[in-house]
Symmetry: C2
Subunit: 340 residues, 2 copies
DNA sequence: GTTCTGTACGAAACCGGTTTCGTAAATAAA
DNA sequence: TTTATTTACGAAACCGGTTTCGTACAGAAC
């Protein structure tokens, strides 16, 4: 009762047609070796029997699977959700399949996933690394095996392949300067990783804006978020309490914005009067938050699309290799009420 | 320069060890036929050469791929994002791989995806159908091929397999009654499909609540959302304008909630005073919207997890079949300021 | 000593395609 | 007419594993 239904194979086609297996195979792939008449007969039977070639048999012989692996830290983040959309749209168009893996921000998990790819399960890889990831041996090993990989958003600078990023430094600079111009005397930077390239760049942009506005950088104004949401939240409360009013807050990643709303509510610090908030975020609901959230919105869909397009180009074109370069797609700041 | 690096194969292991291929294969799978000493030698070399068995060769012979297919209408919806998380968590644990496909709410696309699965690419399928889907021949055909499939959330009642759903009828009933109890004289139902089982059930729950409260049902109060966001929005504007104040709105799906915020803002109809809003939604930001959104929150993660767990059980246990039943995981209503 | 049983392994078929290479017949070139 | 090509197809190797089946040998049973 549970045994699989035997699928129709190319052998069955060949037998029914009185042709050889190789002839059928060639007919299906529209080889010039096969006459039009024979192709017609073959295709008719393919249609009639609803023949679906076994993809794994084909993959085994041809050494490619028409499958790409996508490694994400998580999926419950609008950025990644939109990025998947972009990736899927080009994969679909080119007839590729997408295997999805979540690292849950864990380096070990990411390492396991990447190591599995050495098996040849995927033709290429798109990755946005975990917040913990600082080494890149796992990725180097994969590249040595000539499995193309492109980074998007969360990249590792030291790895020599193509990276699709946004203008993190500039965006953070703009955001910080915006807060300063709006009159916030101090600016907090909510950091979610001290390791990630994007975090570092955003922090640098923040620092530069402070510098340009002759505000002294204080490491105490950089709040590091860990995995412990409770502790992070109480740190945030403490920090906000300790400061005078007129605090600007730059959340360097989407998930850090909502805790600020919550904390301000709890502490009765009205946004934007006492606290100005701007966040890197792709939330559709940003415009309807209370108050509407000023955001740095990343071109998530486009980044996913660009990354996938490049990867597939590298897979399809034998004379195209992924060079060590950064492709920057700019973010846009959308000013709303949370910053006056 | 582009040719793939030849991976180490089981044959290379066998040669280096002076053993036969079959012995090595059995050693790796820890067969009782092989002596402990030999297993040790084999595993040592596996480690040393970083041998990764080709998954497609293995799939070909064993006729299973340790891969499941997940078909979603979209991914930029908190429900599906969380569901993926649930699915991935159990797939990961059981060593399964997950292929993701988006139907983008198109029946044709969904059909293509499902048809591809007839090739044997996946061992089993999880699906939440497109809003357009009313036929189910594509799914029947798959089931005839003995490829297990479980529905989650957006199910097709007529297909005889397991369905993981939430209590749509009751939740909509509760939501509607809540609006009525809060004093809204009329209740609008924002519908996003006339076909989907969940939509119908939610509509039924809505009707029942009206009936129980002796409010006459009017089909004019059911607003159908199409794919044309602009047209939908202007319909919504028109409807809200035409009604007296004190309108309750039940958004039967997450994406319909934000347009209501926008329309109320545009029409200067304060929520919750003039318009009460409740929505099926899993948005984390619901609590921080302006005003905070009362939601029916579905157990998305749990539903994904349950669906995946059941599917994998059907795949692993030969004496377990997916019966034609519904497993209901209840939603919870979280009352916030958008409904007084 | 003979038969039986169990252990440890190897040869080969097999999964279902793709690809190489060989060849008979038809056609073109000389 | 003979030779060179082209057309259309088939046999078989191949991809890299898994699985079946056969067997040599050691020790146990009789």
């Amino acid at each position: 009762m549970k045994e699989k239904v035997t699928n129709v194979t190319i052998k069955m086609l060949a037998n029914q047609l009185g042709l050889s297996i190789s002839t059928v195979s060639k007919a299906i792939s529209d080889s010039h070796e096969i006459s039009a008449a024979t192709k017609q007969r073959v295709n008719d039977l393919v249609e009639k029997l609803n023949y679906k070639p076994n993809p794994y048999a084909s993959s085994l012989r041809t050494r490619n699977s028409k499958t790409i692996g996508v490694v994400l830290p998580e999926v419950a983040d609008s950025f990644f959700a939109q990025a998947i959309n972009g990736i899927e749209s080009v994969a679909e168009e080119k007839g590729y399949h997408v295997l999805i893996y979540l690292s849950h921000e864990s380096f070990e998990r990411e390492e396991q996933i990447i190591k599995d790819f050495e098996s040849g399960r995927v033709d290429g890889v798109l990755i946005s690394v975990a917040k913990e990831t600082e080494q890149h041996k796992h990725i180097d090993t994969l590249l040595e095996k000539k499995i193309p990989l492109v980074f998007f958003d969360r990249v590792i600078d030291e790895v020599a392949t193509t990276k699709i990023i946004t203008d993190d430094y500039e965006a953070a600079f703009t955001a910080t300067e915006h807060l300063i111009k709006q009159g916030y005397k101090q600016v907090l930077f909510l950091s979610f990783s001290q390791i990630l390239s994007i975090s570092c760049k955003r922090l640098e942009g923040y620092k530069k804006a402070l510098y340009d506005n002759t505000i002294k950088f204080s490491s105490g104004n950089v709040l590091r978020f860990s995995n412990d949401a409770k502790k992070d939240y109480s740190n945030l409360l403490r920090k906000l309490t300790s400061l005078k009013k007129g605090i600007g807050v730059l959340a360097s990643v989407e998930k850090l914005a909502l805790p600020v709303y919550q904390a301000c509510e709890e502490l009765q610090l009205p946004i934007p009067q006492d606290v100005g908030l701007i966040s890197f975020s792709n939330l559709d609901s940003a415009a309807f938050l209370h108050p509407p959230l000023t955001t740095i919105t990343q071109p998530a869909f486009e980044m996913g699309k660009a990354a996938a397009a490049l990867l597939l180009k590298a897979l399809e074109r034998k004379n195209f290799e992924l060079t060590d370069e950064e492709i920057v797609i700019p973010s846009v700041m959308i000013v709303r009420k949370s910053t006056l």
